[in-house]
Symmetry: C2
Subunit: 443 residues, 2 copies
């Protein structure tokens, strides 16, 4: 083994279920979470659903000694609920808001108001640059008929884009959060295959926690057993993912989750289980470098590209389903709006007839007239807003689909073994008669 | 000179002013633009304000031979208006929507509906990876009293974050578009200082175009002279920016702009002038590498950090002004809403009095009653929507301010000469008794 230096980093992730006045025992649970974090002194703490600024400030104060660096990502109306606490200085943060995130009129689900996003923080572990991401995707309310699936798939698509493009210079990449996706769900496969991130649970040398790494378990007293069906024991939707770089190898030595209850406490930290991963970072020897990035085995690279084509194609299909659905909704909104307008015109016409037949008595009861007019205006205003909203949804879905088509095209070209970047006319104008050797297309 | 191979890349940027049924001579101008692009065969064409999908498809068809690769970035209700045409294959695209972009009720300005964003495309120029960005920031309607300034500053902040974080792996970075900022404007300084991007106009060895590189000129017949005041001759708000990397040096050999008219045509391409930059990419010799990234002169690095601190602090101040303004607007919305509610309750009370005094005649004229009730409901609905909107604006402004504060803190620590990344407890557990030498904090 060529690696000589190693650094252990402990990462914690928890969906705090911090909806003020709705979630149960919120203040007590935050106090418990604060005590535990203060004691455990993880290097990086990634929290979701810290909806209230007050709760964040409570934790910030409580963790001032153990985790002096923190950031609360702000987005949407009440969100994004994402927070990071760190023992290491946070040098920078950056937030990417997902373009799709449910519907504002689905207030009972509330996701839209949360402004779901992925937050990034640049940390230094010694001399290593670490890009740490925390995110929370749209919830799944009904697995059999999941109307939010296209939105979640687009979120996963944007998440992988964001992580991939912003983490090029990082030595270590860590992503934690509530993805609201089962391990084999499309979005999860998209994320892992495209970014090369590895799942702590699957990689851990040793694991201590719920069966199958589940993070939403029937044993948790805050969980409604009915909602878990048909997954009686629970599901795994929270993750800590990681990857290294050409310079740094990352291993997961140990992973643990809470098990639905906390010893010596009347209730658990949250309705989700908390995750802890112990990552070991090792600097690669010079000879090892460039290994993991540019695969030396062309067959494996081709296999990977083929797998990606399949997954992205599957995602495109899902986005197209979303597109049809959004188009239908927009059509319904415009038709309803047109009916509202027609009704208004009809009403005005009926009212105008006696008015034009000078002096004739108004047969239209005044109360009905005004109520109907108000109804028409309300319909017009609501459908106009919905039309604008659905148009924005359509644009985002079309945008994601375009990007996916482009990515599949590029992957397929790679697969066909064609040069990756054959320009039509590369404008090669080598000065001094030197050949364009350096600028040959790759491969 | 250690560089031996060079590649010339011609980049074009134009704000097309493509508002269907509003902009003048749109179809004719698109035909002109298409003809010119087809003939000129630039490597990369960056267009803004291509609002209509139809117009994009028209160009796509027209440029099928000269620029077989293209992408139209979709965002907002009618936007984002951003398009890229390329001779080189576009491998991937990614879109970042700015979190702030005007107000939906300012329909006459329309920016909100455009969903302003920055689009990124990954291209290959031979073996070189190029990240090409196209963007369009919020317009400036009144320079003296620019109520959109905080929004534009936040857009510039997010733009620099996006470019900086996504371009680490690129050999060449090109950014073109209508920034709606004068060269010395805060947002422009923020963008250039933070990213290290260089301005084609200032760097060009040779320039041919409008005086001072202006891109919105009085000589353009589509320009209303009044709106330019006090800049009688024009302003420079469109840019082509670029930078190289440790592997590649980039120089601007030539830059040109159109001059308010196009020979042999009755009108110009747009109300903005078109920009063309000829960039020369040269591979750096091995010995030269790492030069431009890690400055060898600590004084210059400190000077740069100090300059950044000043600029970010200035930006923070501007964002705080925006915060106060948004808070005031939200307060006004909630107060108006409360008044609407009070009026409704009062009205119901007045109407209820005779109803309770059984049989007494209703003194409230029915027409007034219904009209007043409708007005109250309209006020309540509108103020509720505005309250939600302003809360989202506040969240975004607070988020940007938090990020800026964090960045200033990190820069100041760097300036003070303290170690950049001193973890409180680095968890150094070197196996086999080896020292933690590799993991020393930087500097």
């Amino acid at each position: 083994m060529a690696n000589t230096d190693s650094l252990n980093i402990r990462v914690f992730s928890l969906n705090c279920w911090g909806i003020r006045y709705v979630s149960k025992h919120t203040p007590q649970r935050y106090a418990m979470i604060g005590d535990m974090l203060c004691k455990e002194e993880h290097d990086v703490v990634l929290l979701q659903e810290v909806w209230s600024e007050k709760d964040y400030l409570f934790l910030k104060k409580k963790l001032a000694c153990s985790h002096p660096h923190s950031h609360h990502f702000k987005s949407g109306v009440i969100g994004s609920g994402l927070a990071i606490f760190s023992k290491h200085r946070i040098h920078e943060t950056f937030l990417y808001r997902y373009s799709l995130n449910g519907y504002p009129y689905m207030a009972q689900h509330g996701d839209w108001f949360g402004g779901k996003a992925v937050g990034m923080a640049v940390l230094k572990f010694g001399s290593l640059t670490a890009n740490v991401y925390v995110t929370h995707l749209h919830a799944e309310y009904c697995r059999d008929k999941d109307s939010y699936l296209p939105h979640r798939v687009v979120q996963a698509w944007e998440l992988q884009q964001f992580v991939r493009h912003t983490s090029v210079g990082a030595d270590v990449v860590i992503l934690g959060g509530d993805l609201n996706m089962h391990p084999q769900d499309l979005g999860n496969r998209l994320l892992l295959s495209y970014t090369g991130l590895r799942d702590s649970y699957l990689e851990a040398a040793k694991f201590d926690g719920c069966e199958n790494g589940m993070t939403l378990v029937a044993d948790n007293p805050f969980i409604c057993k009915k909602e878990l069906a048909p997954f009686e024991k629970g599901i795994r939707i929270d993750y800590i993912l990681f990857k290294g770089s050409s310079k740094t190898a990352v291993y997961c030595d140990f992973m643990s989750t809470t098990k639905g209850s906390v010893p010596d406490h009347p209730f658990p930290y949250s309705d989700h289980e908390a995750l802890t991963s112990v990552l070991r970072l090792e600097t690669r020897a010079e000879t090892e470098r460039d290994g993991p990035r540019t695969s030396k085995n062309p067959d494996s690279a081709a296999g990977k590209a083929a797998e990606l084509v399949d997954i992205v194609t599957e995602a495109r299909t899902e986005v197209k389903v979303g597109l049809h659905c959004a188009e239908r909704m927009r059509y319904t909104a415009s038709r309803t709006g047109a009916m509202g307008l027609a009704l208004l015109i009809l009403e005005l016409a009926i009212a105008a007839v006696p008015w034009l037949a000078l002096g004739a008595e108004q047969p239209f009861p005044r109360t009905s007239f005004y109520l109907l007019a108000a109804l028409c205006f309300a319909i017009l205003a609501a459908t106009a807003l919905l039309y604008v909203f659905y148009t924005m949804e359509l644009k985002s879905l079309q945008g994601a689909e375009d990007q996916m088509r482009l990515a599949v095209g590029s992957l397929q070209e790679k697969l066909r073994g064609f040069p990756l970047a054959q320009p039509h006319d590369a404008h090669l104008r080598p000065p001094g008669g030197q050949g364009p050797g350096v600028f040959k297309p790759e491969e």
